[in-house]
């Protein structure tokens, strides 16, 4: 028997799917939010398609951020790379303190309108949580375990791949989860520079004074964030259940 929270999540998922595939079904609900003759359901493109593009942007940016942040964290936790720790920290921190909107404004003249500026903004914004968590995960391993790995005659590479990364994985995943949730929301501003995201729906609503559009865009993003957050958290729990000492 599934628990209540699981059933709720399933319900949210089904409603979301229904809305994306058959938005017409929900027209009566949204009708009261708009002026007469104005469309109640977004009609300038497929919501389903926009959602997929939105997710793709977030996925690509987070994947790149994860790759770079985890690689950096591995580098600075090796003996040879320890001196790069302060430098890497500052770089990643700059990425976080620079507002995404400013990144968009600065990168449009270089890369033009479209998806690229958004990817760059999300990538920079997503680095910090992943990097800091990977660092924590790799530096707080139980000393007896790392000592045993050395004593057993594992090479540095074997220790990293077989012991350190698997044990740090739940903490790294927490960082990725934070980064994904932030990016899901932040990606909407990409539509100000013509990236295909759910921000388009919100912006269209703001421009035509259509509350139903704004609400649709916002709710889809929120539902995606909640579902993805919970899924990643469940994955973390499953992993850390095995790796606790």
């Amino acid at each position: 028997m599934a628990s209540l929270p699981t059933l709720l999540r399933l319900a949210v998922f089904l409603v979301l799917l229904a809305f994306l595939l058959q938005p017409g079904w929900f027209e009566p609900l949204l009708k009261s939010l708009v002026q007469e003759n104005a469309p109640a359901v977004y009609n300038r493109g497929s919501l389903f398609w926009l959602t997929l593009l939105h997710l793709r942007t977030v996925f690509v940016a987070t994947f790149a951020a994860t790759f770079i942040a985890v690689s950096l964290a591995i580098l600075v936790t090796r003996e040879a790379g320890a001196e790069f720790l302060p430098l890497s920290r500052s770089l990643v921190n700059i990425g976080q303190t620079f507002p995404p909107v400013a990144v968009l404004a600065l990168s449009v003249p270089i890369f033009g309108f479209g998806e690229k500026p958004t990817l760059i903004a999300l990538f920079l914004y997503g680095l910090l949580p992943i990097f800091e968590n990977a660092l924590t995960g790799l530096t707080t391993l139980p000393p007896a375990v790392t000592e045993a790995a050395r004593g057993a005659g594992m090479t540095e590479r074997q220790r990293l791949v077989q012991i350190e990364l698997p044990l740090a994985l739940p903490v790294i995943l927490t960082g990725i989860r934070l980064s994904v949730v932030i990016s899901l929301a932040t990606a909407t501003i990409g539509s100000t520079v013509a990236a295909k995201t759910l921000g388009e729906v919100i912006i269209a609503g703001l421009q035509s004074n259509n509350l139903a559009f704004v609400l649709q865009g916002g709710l889809i993003v929120a539902a995606l964030a909640v579902l993805i957050h919970d899924a990643l958290q469940a994955l973390e729990r499953a992993l850390s259940g095995r790796t606790r000492t």
């Binding site: 139980p142 045993a148 004593g151 044990l167 790796t243 606790r244």
Partner: protein, 312 residues
């Protein structure tokens, strides 16, 4: 045979191990005792090069331990530590298989070895093999830790306070297990502890360390009869000496001809335990039985008291 030759370890100006020369005979248990900070852990960690000595050499069977790459050396030497250090994300069987896997043993050989070791440590392979370390009790985890250290059949086993985290009852059991396993494999063991009781129970030879130096190295009996320094005397505990003396030898060594009343004690029991049994039951002699159950004589209160006295 392990030879420490003028081994010194210095961190900046602090000397942790100072000019230690020591020879450990094959197939024996050498226990290194000392207070914390005496350099005993540093000394054994230099054997598998987890720490590099500042000067001096360590030879294993005549070969300088720096003549092979670190990781190869470590795969040849068993290493068991306090708090076991089991890999929490790997099953018991995978943990034990660590070094054999690194050495590239065939799967069937690894499986057989894991089962052999688990059985030897009285852990059912089918039940415990697929478990994760956190599902085991402290004593079981510790046994798996030692089994992992022995998996690649090393000639040499280093143990750094392996039983430090165990409660007294499980610790006594673990010590007895270690003795029987050492007999089974003939492994040379160097064990570090600060527990004198443990040292006298396990050691063929004891090395006492104080402020980075080995102040005495000898059999437990030698240490009792002729402590080299006041520190050694203090470590042994003056009031404990007669009892430690009795603890080293077995009842079988103290057997006198004659018969006695009551249930026999096994000849493998220590003389200290025999004395305890005599005192508690208020008798003056007890029969002693060999492993096959035959009565081989008796131990008497008078006999044990004489043995506990300082040799002249």
């Amino acid at each position: 045979m392990i030879e420490f030759d003028c081994v010194t370890k210095r961190y900046d100006e602090t000397v942790v191990v100072s000019d230690v020369s020591l020879t450990v005979m094959p197939h024996t248990i050498t226990v290194i005792v000392g207070t914390s900070g005496s350099g005993k852990t540093t000394l054994i960690r230099m054997v598998n090069r987890l720490i590099e000595p500042t000067s001096g050499t360590i030879r294993i069977d005549g070969e300088d331990n720096r003549s092979v790459p670190e990781f190869e050396l470590r795969r040849r030497i068993g290493y068991a530590i306090q708090g076991h250090g089991l890999f929490p994300h790997r099953t018991v069987a995978q943990n034990i298989a660590t070094v054999p896997t690194l050495l590239g043993w065939e799967r069937a050989r690894i499986k057989a070895k894991v089962e052999e070791l688990l059985t030897l440590f009285q852990l059912d392979p089918d039940f415990f093999g697929p478990r994760y370390p956190h599902e085991l009790s402290g004593g079981q985890q510790q046994r798996v830790g030692v089994a992992r250290a022995l998996a690649a059949e090393p000639n040499l086993l280093l143990m750094d306070e392996p039983f430090g985290a165990l409660d007294p009852i499980i610790r006594a059991k673990a010590q007895d297990d270690l003795l029987s396993i050492q007999k089974h494999f003939g492994t040379t063991i160097i064990l570090v502890t600060h527990d004198m009781e443990e040292a006298f129970h396990l050691a063929d030879r004891i090395a006492v360390m104080d402020k980075g130096e080995v102040v005495q190295h000898g059999t437990p009996a030698e240490m009792l009869i002729r402590p080299a320094t006041p520190f050694v005397e203090e470590l042994i505990g003056a009031t404990e000496r007669p009892f430690r003396m009795l603890a080293i030898e077995t009842a079988g060594d103290a057997v006198e001809p004659g018969a006695a009343e009551g249930a026999p004690i096994p000849e493998g029991l220590s003389q200290r335990e025999a004395l305890s049994e005599l005192l508690w039951s208020g008798r003056s002699a007890l029969p002693v039985a060999a492993a096959n159950g035959a009565i081989i004589g008796k131990v008497s209160l008078d006999g044990l008291v004489k043995r506990a006295a300082r040799p002249r």
